[in-house]
Protein backbone atom coordinates (compact mmCIF):
# COMPACT_ATOMS: atom_id res chain seq x y z
CA UNK A 1 0.00 0.00 0.00
CA UNK A 2 1.22 3.46 -0.88
CA UNK A 3 1.33 6.35 1.57
CA UNK A 4 -1.93 7.82 0.28
CA UNK A 5 -3.80 4.52 0.62
CA UNK A 6 -2.54 4.09 4.18
CA UNK A 7 -3.45 7.67 5.11
CA UNK A 8 -6.86 7.21 3.51
CA UNK A 9 -7.52 4.05 5.52
CA UNK A 10 -6.59 5.85 8.75
CA UNK A 11 -8.76 8.87 7.92
CA UNK A 12 -11.72 6.60 7.10
CA UNK A 13 -11.30 4.74 10.39
CA UNK A 14 -10.58 7.73 12.65
CA UNK A 15 -13.15 10.13 11.25
CA UNK A 16 -15.75 7.57 10.26
CA UNK A 17 -16.11 8.93 6.72
CA UNK A 18 -16.72 7.18 3.41
CA UNK A 19 -13.55 6.36 1.49
CA UNK A 20 -14.95 8.01 -1.63
CA UNK A 21 -14.86 11.30 0.26
CA UNK A 22 -11.11 11.07 0.80
CA UNK A 23 -8.93 12.43 -2.01
CA UNK A 24 -5.61 14.28 -1.96
CA UNK A 25 -7.50 17.56 -2.25
CA UNK A 26 -9.93 16.83 0.60
CA UNK A 27 -9.53 19.20 3.54
CA UNK A 28 -9.87 17.92 7.10
CA UNK A 29 -12.31 20.72 7.74
CA UNK A 30 -14.65 19.44 5.02
CA UNK A 31 -14.68 16.06 6.80
CA UNK A 32 -16.02 17.80 9.91
CA UNK A 33 -12.86 17.09 11.88
CA UNK A 34 -12.37 19.44 14.83
CA UNK A 35 -8.98 20.25 16.36
CA UNK A 36 -8.98 17.22 18.66
CA UNK A 37 -10.07 14.85 15.88
CA UNK A 38 -7.02 16.07 13.99
CA UNK A 39 -4.77 15.48 17.01
CA UNK A 40 -6.04 11.91 17.20
CA UNK A 41 -5.54 11.50 13.48
CA UNK A 42 -1.98 12.83 13.75
CA UNK A 43 -1.32 10.32 16.54
CA UNK A 44 -2.54 7.48 14.32
CA UNK A 45 -0.33 8.71 11.46
CA UNK A 46 2.69 8.99 13.78
CA UNK A 47 2.17 5.41 14.89
CA UNK A 48 1.52 4.02 11.40
CA UNK A 49 4.55 5.71 9.83
CA UNK A 50 6.78 5.66 12.94
CA UNK A 51 7.51 9.37 12.89
CA UNK A 52 6.97 12.40 15.09
CA UNK A 53 4.79 15.19 13.74
CA UNK A 54 5.47 18.24 15.95
CA UNK A 55 2.51 20.43 16.81
CA UNK A 56 3.67 23.41 14.72
CA UNK A 57 3.94 21.12 11.66
CA UNK A 58 0.63 19.40 12.39
CA UNK A 59 -1.08 22.80 12.43
CA UNK A 60 -0.05 23.37 8.81
CA UNK A 61 -1.71 20.19 7.56
CA UNK A 62 -4.95 21.34 5.95
CA UNK A 63 -5.61 18.59 3.40
CA UNK A 64 -5.02 14.88 2.99
CA UNK A 65 -2.41 15.79 0.34
CA UNK A 66 -0.54 17.97 2.90
CA UNK A 67 -0.36 15.00 5.25
CA UNK A 68 0.80 12.62 2.52
CA UNK A 69 3.53 15.04 1.43
CA UNK A 70 4.70 15.62 5.01
CA UNK A 71 4.96 11.87 5.59
CA UNK A 72 6.83 11.27 2.33
CA UNK A 73 9.27 14.08 3.15
CA UNK A 74 9.97 12.86 6.68
CA UNK A 75 10.12 9.11 6.43
Amino acid sequence: MGVFEKVKAIVVEQLGVDENEVTLETSFESLNADSLDIVELVMALEEEFDLDIPDDEAEKLRTIGNAVNYIKGNQ
Binding site: D34, S35, L36, V39, E40, V42, M43, D55, A58
Partner: protein, 339 residues
Protein backbone atom coordinates in the same frame (compact mmCIF):
# COMPACT_ATOMS: atom_id res chain seq x y z
CA UNK B 1 4.91 -6.91 53.87
CA UNK B 2 1.24 -6.14 54.51
CA UNK B 3 -1.26 -5.45 51.77
CA UNK B 4 -2.44 -1.83 51.79
CA UNK B 5 -5.85 -0.55 50.77
CA UNK B 6 -8.29 2.32 51.00
CA UNK B 7 -10.53 2.00 54.07
CA UNK B 8 -12.29 5.38 53.96
CA UNK B 9 -13.13 8.09 51.44
CA UNK B 10 -14.34 11.67 51.49
CA UNK B 11 -14.73 14.49 49.03
CA UNK B 12 -15.68 18.13 49.00
CA UNK B 13 -16.38 20.74 46.33
CA UNK B 14 -17.13 24.44 46.90
CA UNK B 15 -20.74 25.57 46.45
CA UNK B 16 -20.27 28.15 43.71
CA UNK B 17 -20.84 26.80 40.20
CA UNK B 18 -19.47 28.23 36.95
CA UNK B 19 -21.45 27.01 33.93
CA UNK B 20 -20.45 27.13 30.27
CA UNK B 21 -23.02 29.92 29.86
CA UNK B 22 -21.09 31.96 32.42
CA UNK B 23 -18.00 31.66 30.23
CA UNK B 24 -19.93 32.92 27.19
CA UNK B 25 -20.08 36.26 29.04
CA UNK B 26 -16.37 36.23 29.94
CA UNK B 27 -14.51 35.05 26.81
CA UNK B 28 -15.24 34.36 23.14
CA UNK B 29 -16.66 30.84 23.49
CA UNK B 30 -19.93 28.92 23.47
CA UNK B 31 -21.51 26.17 25.52
CA UNK B 32 -21.55 23.87 22.49
CA UNK B 33 -17.85 24.50 21.70
CA UNK B 34 -16.82 23.73 25.30
CA UNK B 35 -19.09 20.68 25.52
CA UNK B 36 -17.92 19.21 22.20
CA UNK B 37 -14.21 19.63 22.97
CA UNK B 38 -14.11 18.86 26.67
CA UNK B 39 -17.34 17.25 27.85
CA UNK B 40 -17.37 19.79 30.70
CA UNK B 41 -20.69 21.51 31.56
CA UNK B 42 -19.85 23.11 34.89
CA UNK B 43 -17.11 23.40 37.49
CA UNK B 44 -16.84 24.58 41.11
CA UNK B 45 -15.03 27.67 42.29
CA UNK B 46 -13.74 28.43 45.77
CA UNK B 47 -14.59 31.92 46.98
CA UNK B 48 -12.00 34.56 47.60
CA UNK B 49 -10.30 33.93 50.92
CA UNK B 50 -11.01 30.19 50.81
CA UNK B 51 -7.67 28.34 50.48
CA UNK B 52 -7.15 24.76 49.38
CA UNK B 53 -6.57 23.64 52.99
CA UNK B 54 -10.24 24.34 53.69
CA UNK B 55 -11.34 22.02 50.87
CA UNK B 56 -8.81 19.38 51.97
CA UNK B 57 -9.99 19.63 55.58
CA UNK B 58 -13.64 19.06 54.60
CA UNK B 59 -12.79 16.04 52.43
CA UNK B 60 -10.44 14.58 55.05
CA UNK B 61 -12.97 14.92 57.88
CA UNK B 62 -15.42 12.82 55.86
CA UNK B 63 -12.78 10.26 54.97
CA UNK B 64 -11.84 9.76 58.64
CA UNK B 65 -15.52 9.41 59.54
CA UNK B 66 -16.08 6.96 56.68
CA UNK B 67 -13.12 4.90 57.86
CA UNK B 68 -14.22 5.10 61.49
CA UNK B 69 -10.81 6.45 62.43
CA UNK B 70 -10.03 9.03 65.10
CA UNK B 71 -7.71 11.87 64.10
CA UNK B 72 -5.12 10.80 66.65
CA UNK B 73 -4.79 7.40 64.95
CA UNK B 74 -3.41 9.03 61.79
CA UNK B 75 0.38 8.75 61.58
CA UNK B 76 1.03 10.23 58.15
CA UNK B 77 -0.68 13.02 56.17
CA UNK B 78 0.17 13.71 52.53
CA UNK B 79 -1.48 16.48 50.54
CA UNK B 80 -1.06 16.42 46.76
CA UNK B 81 -1.68 19.82 45.18
CA UNK B 82 -0.32 22.32 42.69
CA UNK B 83 -2.20 25.07 44.53
CA UNK B 84 -1.04 24.82 48.15
CA UNK B 85 -2.01 27.54 50.62
CA UNK B 86 1.60 28.72 50.74
CA UNK B 87 4.96 27.89 49.18
CA UNK B 88 5.66 26.92 52.80
CA UNK B 89 4.55 25.74 55.33
CA UNK B 90 3.07 22.61 53.76
CA UNK B 91 -0.70 22.45 53.42
CA UNK B 92 -0.56 18.95 54.95
CA UNK B 93 0.66 20.48 58.24
CA UNK B 94 -2.21 22.99 58.25
CA UNK B 95 -4.82 20.34 57.46
CA UNK B 96 -3.44 17.94 60.08
CA UNK B 97 -3.61 20.71 62.68
CA UNK B 98 -7.22 21.56 61.83
CA UNK B 99 -8.20 17.90 62.05
CA UNK B 100 -6.61 17.59 65.48
CA UNK B 101 -3.93 15.23 64.23
CA UNK B 102 -0.91 16.02 66.31
CA UNK B 103 2.67 14.98 65.74
CA UNK B 104 1.94 12.85 62.68
CA UNK B 105 4.36 13.16 59.76
CA UNK B 106 2.88 15.63 57.26
CA UNK B 107 4.13 16.87 53.93
CA UNK B 108 2.97 18.06 50.54
CA UNK B 109 3.68 16.29 47.29
CA UNK B 110 3.53 17.89 43.87
CA UNK B 111 3.08 15.65 40.85
CA UNK B 112 0.58 17.71 38.89
CA UNK B 113 -2.65 15.93 38.07
CA UNK B 114 -1.00 12.60 38.99
CA UNK B 115 -0.60 13.92 42.54
CA UNK B 116 -3.18 11.72 44.25
CA UNK B 117 -1.79 8.55 42.69
CA UNK B 118 1.76 9.57 43.64
CA UNK B 119 0.64 10.35 47.20
CA UNK B 120 -1.33 7.12 47.59
CA UNK B 121 1.58 5.03 46.28
CA UNK B 122 4.00 6.90 48.58
CA UNK B 123 1.79 6.41 51.64
CA UNK B 124 1.28 2.74 50.81
CA UNK B 125 5.04 2.17 50.96
CA UNK B 126 5.27 3.54 54.53
CA UNK B 127 2.46 1.18 55.55
CA UNK B 128 3.80 -1.85 53.66
CA UNK B 129 7.20 -1.29 55.25
CA UNK B 130 5.59 -1.26 58.69
CA UNK B 131 6.62 2.28 59.61
CA UNK B 132 3.03 3.52 59.89
CA UNK B 133 -0.35 1.84 60.08
CA UNK B 134 -2.74 4.67 59.13
CA UNK B 135 -2.19 7.31 56.48
CA UNK B 136 -4.42 10.12 55.24
CA UNK B 137 -3.91 10.97 51.58
CA UNK B 138 -5.56 14.07 50.14
CA UNK B 139 -5.70 15.47 46.62
CA UNK B 140 -6.94 19.04 46.69
CA UNK B 141 -6.91 21.96 44.29
CA UNK B 142 -8.08 25.52 43.93
CA UNK B 143 -7.09 25.86 40.28
CA UNK B 144 -9.43 28.85 39.95
CA UNK B 145 -6.77 30.83 41.82
CA UNK B 146 -4.15 30.22 39.10
CA UNK B 147 -6.41 30.23 36.04
CA UNK B 148 -5.84 32.75 33.26
CA UNK B 149 -9.40 34.03 32.89
CA UNK B 150 -8.55 35.71 29.59
CA UNK B 151 -7.38 32.51 27.90
CA UNK B 152 -10.47 30.89 26.39
CA UNK B 153 -8.49 27.72 25.58
CA UNK B 154 -7.70 26.90 29.21
CA UNK B 155 -9.99 28.87 31.55
CA UNK B 156 -12.99 26.65 30.80
CA UNK B 157 -11.14 23.47 31.76
CA UNK B 158 -10.37 23.77 35.44
CA UNK B 159 -12.28 23.44 38.67
CA UNK B 160 -11.78 23.34 42.43
CA UNK B 161 -12.30 20.43 44.80
CA UNK B 162 -10.70 17.91 47.13
CA UNK B 163 -10.83 14.19 47.75
CA UNK B 164 -9.31 12.20 50.60
CA UNK B 165 -8.58 8.57 51.35
CA UNK B 166 -7.55 6.74 54.51
CA UNK B 167 -5.03 3.98 53.86
CA UNK B 168 -4.42 1.03 56.16
CA UNK B 169 -3.37 -2.61 55.96
CA UNK B 170 -6.22 -4.72 54.54
CA UNK B 171 -7.06 -8.42 54.33
CA UNK B 172 -4.87 -10.56 52.16
CA UNK B 173 -5.91 -10.49 48.51
CA UNK B 174 -7.46 -7.01 48.80
CA UNK B 175 -6.04 -3.52 48.42
CA UNK B 176 -3.36 -2.33 46.03
CA UNK B 177 -2.50 -5.20 43.72
CA UNK B 178 0.01 -3.24 41.67
CA UNK B 179 1.24 0.29 41.16
CA UNK B 180 3.47 2.30 38.97
CA UNK B 181 4.77 5.83 38.73
CA UNK B 182 6.69 7.62 36.01
CA UNK B 183 7.87 11.00 34.81
CA UNK B 184 9.33 12.70 31.76
CA UNK B 185 10.67 16.15 32.59
CA UNK B 186 11.41 16.90 28.94
CA UNK B 187 7.73 17.79 28.68
CA UNK B 188 7.88 20.10 31.70
CA UNK B 189 7.11 23.23 29.70
CA UNK B 190 3.94 21.76 28.16
CA UNK B 191 1.92 22.35 31.32
CA UNK B 192 3.32 24.96 33.65
CA UNK B 193 2.71 27.89 35.98
CA UNK B 194 5.81 29.84 34.96
CA UNK B 195 6.19 32.36 37.78
CA UNK B 196 6.15 32.29 41.56
CA UNK B 197 8.96 29.80 42.06
CA UNK B 198 12.72 30.38 42.12
CA UNK B 199 12.93 30.50 38.33
CA UNK B 200 10.75 33.60 38.00
CA UNK B 201 10.03 34.93 41.51
CA UNK B 202 7.00 37.15 41.87
CA UNK B 203 7.63 40.71 40.71
CA UNK B 204 5.34 43.46 39.50
CA UNK B 205 6.40 42.54 35.96
CA UNK B 206 5.64 38.82 36.41
CA UNK B 207 2.17 39.68 37.68
CA UNK B 208 1.54 42.15 34.85
CA UNK B 209 2.60 39.52 32.31
CA UNK B 210 0.10 37.10 33.89
CA UNK B 211 2.87 34.53 34.45
CA UNK B 212 1.32 33.22 37.66
CA UNK B 213 -1.36 31.34 35.77
CA UNK B 214 -1.60 27.97 34.03
CA UNK B 215 -0.05 27.60 30.56
CA UNK B 216 -0.86 24.50 28.61
CA UNK B 217 0.12 23.22 25.17
CA UNK B 218 -3.22 21.46 24.81
CA UNK B 219 -2.63 19.31 21.75
CA UNK B 220 0.75 18.01 22.94
CA UNK B 221 -0.67 17.22 26.37
CA UNK B 222 -3.63 15.48 24.72
CA UNK B 223 -1.28 13.17 22.79
CA UNK B 224 0.78 12.42 25.88
CA UNK B 225 -2.32 11.72 27.96
CA UNK B 226 -3.99 9.34 25.51
CA UNK B 227 -0.79 7.35 25.02
CA UNK B 228 0.18 7.22 28.67
CA UNK B 229 -3.25 5.95 29.75
CA UNK B 230 -3.01 3.12 27.26
CA UNK B 231 0.59 2.29 28.22
CA UNK B 232 -0.06 2.46 31.98
CA UNK B 233 -3.11 0.22 31.76
CA UNK B 234 -1.29 -2.38 29.65
CA UNK B 235 1.82 -2.32 31.79
CA UNK B 236 -0.08 -2.59 35.07
CA UNK B 237 -2.25 -5.43 33.75
CA UNK B 238 0.83 -7.43 32.87
CA UNK B 239 2.51 -6.58 36.20
CA UNK B 240 -0.55 -7.81 38.11
CA UNK B 241 -1.17 -10.75 35.81
CA UNK B 242 -4.66 -9.44 35.07
CA UNK B 243 -6.62 -9.21 31.83
CA UNK B 244 -8.52 -6.16 30.64
CA UNK B 245 -11.81 -7.96 31.29
CA UNK B 246 -10.85 -8.56 34.94
CA UNK B 247 -11.12 -4.84 35.63
CA UNK B 248 -14.58 -3.80 36.86
CA UNK B 249 -14.07 -0.04 36.69
CA UNK B 250 -11.49 2.34 35.25
CA UNK B 251 -11.00 5.75 36.86
CA UNK B 252 -8.83 7.95 34.71
CA UNK B 253 -7.82 11.48 35.64
CA UNK B 254 -10.83 13.60 34.66
CA UNK B 255 -9.06 16.05 32.36
CA UNK B 256 -11.16 15.95 29.23
CA UNK B 257 -13.90 13.68 27.92
CA UNK B 258 -12.13 13.47 24.56
CA UNK B 259 -8.91 12.17 26.19
CA UNK B 260 -10.86 9.53 28.08
CA UNK B 261 -12.79 8.52 24.95
CA UNK B 262 -9.67 8.33 22.79
CA UNK B 263 -7.86 6.19 25.37
CA UNK B 264 -10.90 3.97 25.89
CA UNK B 265 -11.17 3.44 22.13
CA UNK B 266 -7.53 2.41 21.88
CA UNK B 267 -7.94 -0.05 24.74
CA UNK B 268 -11.30 -1.18 23.32
CA UNK B 269 -12.94 -0.58 26.68
CA UNK B 270 -16.64 -0.86 27.28
CA UNK B 271 -17.84 2.71 28.10
CA UNK B 272 -19.80 1.26 31.03
CA UNK B 273 -16.52 0.40 32.69
CA UNK B 274 -15.09 3.90 32.45
CA UNK B 275 -16.17 6.29 35.19
CA UNK B 276 -16.71 9.90 34.16
CA UNK B 277 -17.87 12.84 36.29
CA UNK B 278 -15.90 15.67 34.69
CA UNK B 279 -19.07 17.18 33.19
CA UNK B 280 -19.81 18.54 36.68
CA UNK B 281 -16.35 19.37 38.02
CA UNK B 282 -14.01 20.00 35.09
CA UNK B 283 -10.36 19.13 35.55
CA UNK B 284 -9.61 19.31 39.27
CA UNK B 285 -6.02 18.10 38.89
CA UNK B 286 -4.88 16.12 41.96
CA UNK B 287 -8.44 16.07 43.30
CA UNK B 288 -10.03 14.43 40.29
CA UNK B 289 -9.33 10.75 41.00
CA UNK B 290 -10.39 10.75 44.68
CA UNK B 291 -13.47 12.83 43.75
CA UNK B 292 -14.36 10.26 41.10
CA UNK B 293 -13.58 7.34 43.40
CA UNK B 294 -15.75 8.68 46.21
CA UNK B 295 -18.62 9.34 43.82
CA UNK B 296 -18.31 5.89 42.22
CA UNK B 297 -18.47 4.24 45.65
CA UNK B 298 -21.47 6.40 46.68
CA UNK B 299 -23.24 5.43 43.45
CA UNK B 300 -22.44 1.76 44.15
CA UNK B 301 -20.52 1.53 40.91
CA UNK B 302 -17.81 -0.06 43.08
CA UNK B 303 -18.58 -2.95 45.39
CA UNK B 304 -16.43 -5.10 47.68
CA UNK B 305 -14.36 -7.48 45.62
CA UNK B 306 -14.36 -5.28 42.50
CA UNK B 307 -11.05 -4.61 40.82
CA UNK B 308 -10.40 -1.00 39.87
CA UNK B 309 -7.70 0.66 37.91
CA UNK B 310 -6.89 4.31 38.52
CA UNK B 311 -4.62 6.22 36.15
CA UNK B 312 -3.35 9.76 36.68
CA UNK B 313 -1.35 11.91 34.26
CA UNK B 314 -0.36 15.53 34.21
CA UNK B 315 2.21 18.27 34.66
CA UNK B 316 5.78 17.12 35.00
CA UNK B 317 5.05 15.33 32.84
CA UNK B 318 4.07 12.65 35.33
CA UNK B 319 1.87 9.59 35.34
CA UNK B 320 0.87 6.94 37.84
CA UNK B 321 -1.49 4.02 38.13
CA UNK B 322 -2.89 1.76 40.82
CA UNK B 323 -4.78 -1.51 40.44
CA UNK B 324 -6.86 -2.15 43.53
CA UNK B 325 -9.20 -4.84 44.78
CA UNK B 326 -11.88 -2.99 46.72
CA UNK B 327 -12.75 -4.01 50.29
CA UNK B 328 -10.91 -6.15 52.83
CA UNK B 329 -11.23 -3.48 55.48
CA UNK B 330 -10.11 -4.42 58.97
CA UNK B 331 -7.05 -6.61 58.73
CA UNK B 332 -7.42 -8.46 62.04
CA UNK B 333 -4.05 -10.22 61.93
CA UNK B 334 -2.34 -6.92 61.54
CA UNK B 335 -4.32 -5.34 64.38
CA UNK B 336 -3.34 -8.21 66.68
CA UNK B 337 0.25 -7.73 65.71
CA UNK B 338 0.04 -4.13 66.82
CA UNK B 339 -1.56 -4.87 70.18
Amino acid sequence: MSRVGIVGLGSYVPEDILTNKDFEKMVDTTDSWITARTGIKERRKAREGVPVSELCYQAARQALEDAGILPQEVELVIVASVTPDYAFPATACLVADRLGISKAAAFDLEAGCSGFIYAAVTASQFIAAGMYRTALVIGGETLSKITNWQDRGTCVLFGDGAGAAVLQPVEDGYGFLGMELGADGSGGDLLIQPAGGSSIPATTASVQANLHTIRMAGREVFKFAVRVIEESVQSLLSKCDLRLEDIDLFLFHQANQRIIEAAARRLELDQEKVFVNLERYGNTSAASIPLALDEAVQQKRIRDGDILMMVGFGAGLTWGAIACKWGGKGNKDDQNENL
